[in-house]
């Protein structure tokens, strides 16, 4: 299947690992991601003006016209803004986590299991809230690892805020919030958000923070992903 792909700013820089991972998972599943040409920033959370945010994402959707009806945006802030700008419009906007159900991933050849391992799936905020733009299955990562024989931990903190949004403003606030999540984690922390990845990694001790896509690629037999 063909999807229009909106990488977003961080996936072309600090979160290029997530970008590579998403592209590879979709390729392994036989899908094609076609980059939206000349896309612009979605505005993330930096604008108080709702109209401005809608306009920025509306512009990206306009650029996606004629490419595909389905738009993929891996960064949770981008997918939220695009979903809101689209509303009930022409497109169907997805965060990859919207799609990564057992059925969708069944096309993968599983070459490794996760028996005896423990993971902490961590979603944070924007993937789960507000309800209008949230992912439909809020246990999608847990189901994936448990199906492969692993245990999960940290259920109580999976929807807490890491404070990543304030990281370059009040870092002590981010540090305090991130540490509360790190303390309750066990095994690698699975994330999907570039901001959560950075906040949790920055304040981690021995804990490892891993993009969920890298775990998918690991069980699909790819080397150097976990």
């Amino acid at each position: 299947m063909d999807y229009a792909y909106y990488p977003g700013c961080s996936l072309t820089g600090s979160a290029r690992r997530l970008d590579k991972g998403v592209r590879k998972v979709f390729r392994l599943l036989g899908h094609t991601l076609k980059d939206i040409p000349d896309w612009n920033c979605c505005g993330a959370f930096e604008y108080g003006d709702r109209k401005e945010l809608t306009r920025l994402s509306g512009e990206n959707l306009r650029k996606a016209k004629g490419m595909a009806r389905e738009v993929i945006a891996p960064c949770p802030a981008c997918s939220k803004n695009l979903k809101e700008a689209n509303g009930d419009g022409d497109f169907r906007v997805y965060n990859p986590l919207d799609l990564f159900s057992k059925d969708f991933l069944s096309g993968l050849t599983i070459k490794r299991d996760l028996k005896g391992q423990v993971f902490t799936p961590y979603y944070g905020c924007v993937l789960l809230r507000p309800a209008e733009t949230a992912i439909p299955n809020t246990s999608v990562m847990e189901e994936f690892v448990m199906n492969l024989g692993a245990d999960v931990a940290g259920e109580k903190v999976k929807d807490r805020c890491c404070g990543g949004n304030r990281f370059f403003i009040n870092k002590w606030a981010t540090e305090k919030l991130s540490r509360m999540i790190l303390e309750k984690s066990k095994g690698p922390i699975l994330v999907f958000c570039p901001l959560c990845h950075m906040a949790l990694t920055t304040f981690s001790g021995n804990e490892r923070v891993v993009y969920f896509t890298d775990l998918i690629l690991y069980v699909a037999g790819e080397e150097g992903t976990l």
Binding site: C9, N40, G48, E59
Partner: protein, 167 residues
């Protein structure tokens, strides 16, 4: 907060003053607020009440400083009021932009995207003063230098513009 700043909050969020009359004062927003872990007695509801009554909102309010846009309040609110967006509009109308936010918007004006090396350069003094550089060893996987995105400056219709429609 002058009258213009007060009006701007409603213009920015798309809420009307009377929309906040539905707030029941249940304070469920306060009970779930992430900022509770950062500051004592946080109550988003008193911001809504102030705005409804036309009272001034103190720029020292903990939420104005620390709201993380986590939307726990919105999810819990019986009316789904988007309090983080009200706070963002408050910050904007009170011109409380941080160095980072200014750099972010600056990058959008030039390239239409966030160009991370530019943000790093623009916030360099802040990062140095505030002790961020000690985290550099943890950031090796994030660091890379790439040239600015090959996007053209966006038209005033397409790209981010200031209030006068200029880039």
């Amino acid at each position: 907060m002058n009258e213009e700043q007060f009006k701007a909050i409603f213009e920015l969020t798309g809420y009307r003053q009377q929309d906040f009359s539905v707030c029941l004062g249940c304070k469920i927003c306060a009970s779930v607020c992430t900022v509770n872990d950062l500051s004592p007695s946080v109550n988003p509801q008193d911001i809504l009440l102030s705005l409804f009554l036309g009272h001034e909102v103190n720029s020292d309010h903990a939420l104005v400083h620390y709201c993380t846009n986590c939307y726990r309040c919105t999810n819990a609110c019986p009316w789904g009021i988007r309090i983080p967006e009200v706070i963002r509009a408050l910050r904007e109308s009170l011109a409380l932009e941080s160095t980072f936010e200014r750099a972010f918007k600056g990058s959008l004006k030039i390239w239409g995207r966030v160009y991370e090396p530019y943000i790093f350069m623009k916030t360099g003094v802040f990062l140095l003063k505030e002790g961020y550089l000690k985290y550099m060893p943890k950031w090796t996987e994030y660091m890379s230098f790439h040239l600015p995105h090959g996007v053209r400056r966006l038209s005033s219709q397409g790209g981010p513009s200031d209030s006068k429609g200029r880039l």
